[in-house]
Symmetry: C2
Subunit: 124 residues, 2 copies
């Protein structure tokens, strides 16, 4: 990785009440919005669609780590994580952008210590 | 996604004392070992190498969600997560296989509640 590991913050969130969770274009846009808001550089973006009406897995590979999303359109829920490194990265802003694009609400959110960074060192 | 969200378990771990963390072949093998041990189906596998001597990001996209790894060979550390759904999946076995392939030790491990599954419902 290209940033010191001690600057790593990992946000994990479960989302509900989202629409369009079987729409690959929307999921890609949400990942790109999230990366931009987190001030992260996308080095690869990959989607897998499980079939008509079913969910997707999407991963944005970042110079600063990754953003992933898994969707269950039949339940209107999604699981996301944003793992970003670097002193200028802003994972909470990335999560906010992703949630906004999906029109979702956050059911549960956790900020994890990774590789030495206290979770309470995370931006509020 | 192709499995009920209530069966989702997310294991997050920081690893140390690993060798070969700039070796793309080893990282891919570790991801494939982990998926097999977790009884998960790989639907895509993507690697990004940050340059000679630098780390990698690797993601195995699974029918059951994903496994990711980020490596810092200069520090001998890596950050991994295994998010697997389905009643037959075994995330702890996947993590054990990944760690074994890298010759690493786990510095910190967390099992997360995702989409309704209590973390203490995880296999030990």
């Amino acid at each position: 990785m290209s940033h010191p590991p001690g600057t790593s913050l990992h946000l994990v969130a479960d989302l509900a009440a989202a629409a369009g969770l079987d729409d690959a274009g929307l999921i890609e846009a949400a990942l790109r919005d999230a990366a931009a808001a987190a001030r992260a550089q996308v080095v690869g973006l990959h989607l897998h669609h499980f079939g008509p009406g079913l969910g997707l897995t999407g991963v944005a590979m970042l110079a600063e780590s990754h953003i992933s999303i898994h969707t269950w359109p039949e339940a209107g829920v999604a699981a996301v994580d944003l793992f970003v490194c670097g002193e200028t990265a802003d994972a909470p802003a990335g999560l906010a952008a992703l949630v906004a694009r999906l029109g979702a609400r956050i059911v549960r959110q956790q900020a994890l210590r990774r590789l030495g960074l206290p979770a309470d060192g995370a931006p509020a």
